[in-house]
């Protein structure tokens, strides 16, 4: 009996030794992500490059469906943690940071001087003075418009809100929806709200509002909705938007049935798939509402984090430092069709990217992440429902704001 136990022990030891030897040859780095096909290809190329530079590391990428990932991450972070995981900047990562499920990687930032090169995203990666992930891409939001629709209605591209609204009246006469959106999934409506509020009250107020420091029944918020009502009440927004997906609304813009679409830059691919070209598709920044405000813009940032349960932390940090370099971000974002965070990276030739880069780098107000990333998840849900209701029934504005205020008092306790 004693003898056999000893031999079993010996056997295990030998096996463990063999296993560590095998691992010494190639260490695995488990990476969970939620890429769409195009970004996935770009990342696979970047990973191949990383593996070529570090032949002893084997990066195993497990790709999830985009929506499914948002639920899956909560399970795998606590149950079967990878070494790297995709997520988002800003308040969206706060629950995981506060629950101690993301690792503090301030050392990666200081050792690689990321505070300098990734300066524009440092604020949104920082909680409690520490950095919790590395951003690799962002993209601008703004107004995409159909140039043919502008010609058909005989109007010029506006620079102020008053001009924009005047145009809307002419679009309506021509039978074109001035602004289109599809709020079935709620978030496209939040893009409009964010810009309405950023332009009416400025970046700082918008951040205070999403951080729960200001009441939703505040007069300034009411002003935002009053400006927004100028768009909604005369029926300048596509009817039935609550039953449309954002792609359905995109096809209205492509067909010239709608003139403007407040959207993120990822929509350009959809517009071009639908047959639009650089000659028919235009981009403008959201027009000025309150004159003289510092201009804030919206640019959601995608990030990679190390979960606290990671087994191969050293290599994970190496990978993050690699992803943060200017060269890698240039290549990644060329393929992604988005903007690199690293300020030494080059931006692709695409005119929409160039316009976005120009717009974001001159934004003196600040860069917001998007309503559902700046506000906590629960507030985002209630808020976006309110925005959707407002765009269907603008007369309910007081009821909606009271409901949001009630939610704020509960959520930000």
């Amino acid at each position: 009996m004693k003898l056999s136990r000893k031999s079993v022990l010996l056997g295990t030891a030998a096996f463990a030794l063999m296993a560590t030897q095998a691992m010494a040859e190639k260490r695995t780095l488990k990476y969970y992500a939620d890429f769409d096909p195009a970004p996935l290809a770009a990342f696979e190329a970047a990973i191949a490059e990383f593996e070529a530079a570090n032949p002893d590391i084997d990066v195993v990428l497990q790709n999830f469906d985009h929506e499914g990932y948002k639920t899956a991450i909560r399970n795998f972070l606590s149950a079967d943690s990878p070494d790297l995981a995709n997520w988002y900047a800003g308040n969206r990562m706060a629950p995981f940071v506060n629950a101690g499920q993301f690792m503090d990687i301030t050392d990666v930032w200081t050792e690689n001087n990321l505070g300098e090169t990734l300066a524009s995203a440092k604020g949104s990666m920082t909680i409690d003075g520490k950095q919790w992930g590395v951003p690799y891409t962002y993209y601008q939001w703004g107004i995409y418009y159909n140039k043919d629709a502008y010609k058909q209605a005989g109007v010029e591209v506006p620079t102020t809100w008053a001009q924009f609204i005047d145009n809307c009246a002419k679009f309506k006469e021509a039978g074109i929806d001035c602004v289109t959106t599809g709020t079935k999934a709620l978030w496209p409506g939040a893009g409009i709200f964010d810009y309405m509020n950023l332009r009416t009250n400025g970046y700082d107020f918008h951040m205070d509002l999403t951080a729960g420091k200001v009441a939703w029944t505040d007069d300034k918020v009411k002003n935002t909705f009053a400006e927004w009502a100028k768009l909604v009440e005369p029926g300048y927004v596509t009817a039935n938007h609550a039953a449309l997906d954002w792609q359905d609304a995109a096809s209205l813009l492509i067909q010239g049935k709608a003139a403007n679409y407040v959207m993120g830059n990822f929509a350009v691919a959809v517009f071009k798939d639908g047959g639009m070209t650089n000659d028919t598709l235009g981009f403008m920044q959201f027009p000025e509402i309150t004159p003289g405000l510092a201009r804030g813009e919206e640019a959601p940032t995608d990030t990679i984090h190390i979960p606290s349960g990671a087994k191969n932390v050293d290599d994970a940090k190496k990978f993050l430092a690699f992803i943060a370099t200017a060269d890698v971000q240039t290549k990644l974002n060329e393929a992604l069709g988005q903007l690199p965070i690293n300020n030494q990276s080059k931006v692709g030739d695409d005119p929409f990217l160039q316009a976005g880069f120009e717009m974001l780098s001159t934004a003196d107000g600040g860069i917001a992440q998007f309503f559902d990333r700046d506000a906590p998840a629960e507030m985002a849900k209630v808020g976006m429902e309110g925005f959707q209701e407002f765009m269907v029934k603008p007369e309910n504005v007081d009821k909606i704001l009271e409901r949001l205020e009630k939610a704020r008092q509960r959520i930000y306790k």
Partner: protein
Amino acid sequence: MTGSATTAIAGTRTQRPGIWKRNQRALAPWLFLAPGIAMFALYVIYPIVASMWLSFYDWDGLGAKTWLGLENYVELFDDDAFYTSLYNNIIWLVLYMLAVPAGLFVALFLNQTVTGIRIYKSLFFFPFVISQVVVGLIFSWFYAPNFGLFYNLIEWLTGTGVAVLADDRYVTYGIIAAGLWPQIAYCMILYLTGLNNVAPDQIEAARLDGAKGWKMLWHIILPQLRPATFIAVVVTVIGALRSFDLVSIMTDGGPYGSSRVLSFYMFEQALSEYGFRMGYGAAIAVILFAIMMVFISGFIWKMVRDERGL
């Protein structure tokens, strides 16, 4: 020591039979039931109790739980979204019941011997076979503004189209209509099997006595279909209360939450992308359970009564 034990047992054996022998009749049923009871306790009773317990806490599924007492319920009874869901559940319960008479009607219609009747029967049964997700998708395209068949039909008839799923007045009815499609098929199949067992001699006798049409159906056929009706009502009530997939597929509870039902609201609060209020979700689940309990106890009471032949 061993010796004394054997003598002790030997001593008792002469006087009284062993514990097992004495209680065999009482213990055996419990032993046979034990696996079932263990499973039922683990997978049904424990989750119910755990949900009730959880409904007194504030918990995001990750961090520490905080005891709230009845606060979740207090908030729930002051929550407009809860009342919208409850109201929608009632509409579901009432309108979903239409599946029972409709299923009966289709079954009576199909209960004849014509060439190819099996094909017609399977065609009518088809909607129940396909997944609810597919049913939901088909109906959302049917209602879709601009290109949906229903939308275009209404536009052609009245001049302005109605986007059913974007209008808080119609959205719940639109989803229920989608739900009725497979549910009618289900009730139909229950009645078809029931109709097979209707005693031909009674029909013959009734016919000799001059019963026809409506009278025949009401006094002769329907009483014999009572077991089928009972099952049809039970599955329809349960189906109405647990309606979730269609709401999730067709509207995601929208527009602005007006098509939520309790089960969907529970999911939204506890498990969806913007939720993770486990305690609050559990509180909704408890309310839904209480409502279901009313019906379930009613059904069980009736079943027990029938079994005793009362």
